[in-house]
Symmetry: C2
Subunit: 233 residues, 2 copies
């Protein structure tokens, strides 16, 4: 259920910024389906704002390629496709590899500590995945994301991290779309956790070649899983 922006008192952002976050979530999680038309009347109702902040938020999602626009025909959710999925995941693998590579060169003690902390939290919260609870799965996702962010941030490059985040978000649409139709398999997550441990080890050993190889696989193995079982309609 969407909250009206005004109801969040601690947030001093303008409506556009607040709506941006909610709208992005709604697109990434699939509340709005790929290709779906985003009628202003509906959006106004859902987020309890006028058209101006909505159009500003949509304009930003336009640049992030999460929506598309056609003059006089309004906004639509950016469609998904096998081609885009392949493109996103492969580019993301390269970018993430770049982050890891640079992080190994530049990461300091605080970077190592951050990785260990995030890895620990992630490992300890494996239980969150034991039931089919979307809320818990999302919490696990947050920790998983934090782990990888902790690694990537070692690269120390804001522009690279900006690109990385954008690609992560685009990819998460596909993951969520897939999750809507498929159960998660315990064995997959076990393998996942193994990769995390191997990655952490390689990073702390500053074994660049190994770490880059692992992160590439870590990004692409979900892709390979999704590729054949996801449906685009």
């Amino acid at each position: 259920m969407a909250l009206s922006p005004q109801s969040n008192p601690q947030n001093s952002d303008n409506f556009a910024t607040q709506v941006l976050g909610q709208l992005k979530q709604d697109i990434l999680t699939g509340y709005f389906n790929p290709g779906e038309k985003l009628k202003m009347t509906r959006l106004k109702e859902r987020y309890q704002v006028g058209v101006s902040p909505l159009r500003e938020a949509l304009s930003q999602l336009l640049v992030e390629q999460l929506v598309v626009v056609e003059n006089q025909r309004g906004f639509k959710v950016h469609p998904i496709s096998a081609e885009e999925m392949e493109d996103i995941y492969h580019t993301r693998a390269e970018i993430e590899a770049l982050c890891v590579s640079q992080a190994i060169d530049r990461g300091d003690d605080a970077w190592e500590a951050g990785i260990l902390a995030a890895a620990h939290q992630l490992k300890k919260s494996a239980e969150l995945l034991e039931e089919e609870n979307p809320e818990k799965i999302q919490r696990w996702e947050a920790l998983h994301q934090a782990f990888h962010r902790a690694i990537a941030e070692g690269c120390g490059s804001p522009s690279l991290l900006h690109v990385r985040l954008s690609l992560y978000e685009k990819a998460s649409r596909y993951r969520n779309h897939w999750l809507k139709e498929n159960m998660l398999d315990r064995s997959i997550f076990d393998a996942n956790q193994k990769e995390h441990e191997a990655l952490t080890e390689a990073l702390l050993n500053r074994d660049k070649e190994k770490a880059v190889e692992i992160i590439r696989q870590h990004i692409l193995s979900p892709y390979r899983l999704l590729k054949d079982s996801i449906s685009f309609d």
Copy 2:
């Protein structure tokens, strides 16, 4: 002199899209200075539109990090800094290297032909740089950009090209800012042209290692030039 959006009849885009292009140009070329406040009254006058399209355009530039916003304090041109310049140029070098690397793997005959065509045009238009004519320099820039785009497009990855373009634009702010205070040196452009030829040769020979090395230097040598002579105030 800014043109009113309406006066361009062939363009069927909405005002926001049209203003976006002009505004971006004005920021990249330095018509609006880094850090400068973008008052709505002034923008309305310059582009002859209301606040709604303006805010939509600015929202997009926000994502591209060409403007910044503070609630109730409006928009400002994104400030420039030595730190950002270093970050942008280095990330850009990595991304461009990635494009080249993938293009060598995937580029076909049409790709090679496109490079040769663009390289030819670029070489033939060296005379554009012989005088201090901004109009001609800009035309040369367009050809230079087209040459590098022809190369990068061989990678076949829309998402990677999207990132590449964004970084190119951000970097061009710094180049233009530098050009405002400095003359171009003939010898620099001769060296530049030499690099283009070497790059073209390496690409056609599919010599990945060499091509990647050249493109890295080609991106970074302007940076090294700028770094010590540019002023941030």
